[in-house]
Amino acid sequence: MWKKNEPERTEPTMQQPSHPQPVHEQTLIGSSLVVKGDVTGDEDITIQGQVEGKVVLKNNTITVGQHGRVKADLFGKVINVEGTVEGNLHAEERIVVRKSGKVKGNLEAPRVTLEDGAKFKGSIEMDVVDAGSTTVSSGPETRSGEQTQKKASEPGEFRLGSPSPSKT
């Protein structure tokens, strides 16, 4: 009659964060857009279109998406490349070139990651001074925060001019 045996239904409730999350501004340059000139500001950006000029977002993440084609110097906190970049990349924290990424230029960052399959021509500065030394990793990032050690080899271990044919 009153369906006393029916189990009580519990309504799904939305989990509310105990603290309000900071609003993370993000801009998308769509695949049909072409930007010629400098891009500056204070929010993350994802580039799926074309950009020619300079992108300066030193406190933010710059992502060049798979369809993005950038001919510009990039200055960011974190730079992710999944598309094509021709220009120099300067990151305060790290640069990641994904397997679909193609970069022609010079890289400067405390950490550089080049995934298998990524194309790169240019130079990598291995002596960037930041919180630690430059750390470079291949494949997925697996060495977060690890500092590299500079090798201080003992002199005289290999003597120049001493041919020593040998079989390995």
């Binding site: 550089v112 990524a118 240019g122 470079v136 291949s138 002199p155 001493s162 041919p163 044919p165 079989k167």
Partner: protein, 214 residues
């Protein structure tokens, strides 16, 4: 009328093969690499030129040292730049100056040519080494691997540095072609300004050389 430049020995394919699938590397001890690595000392900053394709593991390896690593992927670069107008009067010297436009003051401490020299005809190789020698200082060390076997893959190996004395050869093609069989005398002529420091016979049909520029 445009003409195809021929950078590579005749048996080489004109175009790169289809996108190479990930292949398993073949590990090999490299005493030449080990000897070269011993030259990194203390706080001096080095300039290292890798003529092979970029590889995350190789980059990670050199990140241990205080250096700037230049990666040129020369084989791919030359394949991507294979047409020119004869009216321009390009010769290989001009082409290498154009494709490898290093600042005049840049002098490399180490040059990693890996197995690339096996893929160049003598005149091209001579022009390349002449161009590179302009960016060498006294003491620059060149590492190259010359095939001693009769046949080599039609495309250079992707060479991955694993550690101080181990590299991996990652084949990019299973099709073989005839090796150029450069002898020590040939190399002496083709590497002006360099003298042989050491050579090591590898089990995989290559001999690796260290040359010193002086």
């Amino acid at each position: 009328m445009w003409k195809r430049l021929s950078f590579f020995s005749k048996e080489s394919p004109a175009e790169p093969a289809e996108q190479p699938q990930p292949r398993k590397g073949i590990p090999q001890k490299s005493l030449a690499l080990n000897a070269l690595v011993q030259q990194f000392r203390g706080e001096k900053k080095y300039h290292v030129l890798d003529l092979g394709p970029a590889d995350g593991s190789t980059i990670e390896f050199f990140s241990r040292f205080r250096c700037r690593l230049y990666i040129e992927d020369l084989y791919d670069t030359l394949n991507s730049f294979d047409y020119f107008s004869p009216e321009d009067g390009f010769d290989y010297d001009v082409v290498f100056r154009y494709l490898l436009p290093f600042p005049r003051e840049l002098k490399f401490d180490f040059i990693l040519a890996w197995d690339l020299f096996n893929y160049f005809d003598r005149d091209v190789l001579g022009s390349l080494t002449a161009h590179l020698s302009k960016h060498c200082r006294r003491g620059t060390i060149l590492l190259c691997q010359i095939a001693t076997q009769r046949h080599i893959p039609e495309l250079p190996y992707r060479i991955r540095v694993v550690d101080d004395e181990t590299i991996e050869y990652i084949p990019q093609s299973e099709v073989m072609k005839e090796a150029p069989h450069y002898e020590v005398g040939d190399l002496a002529r083709l590497l002006p300004g360099f003298r042989s420091l050491s050579s090591f016979v590898l089990r995989n049909g290559y001999r690796e050389y260290l040359y010193l520029f002086d």
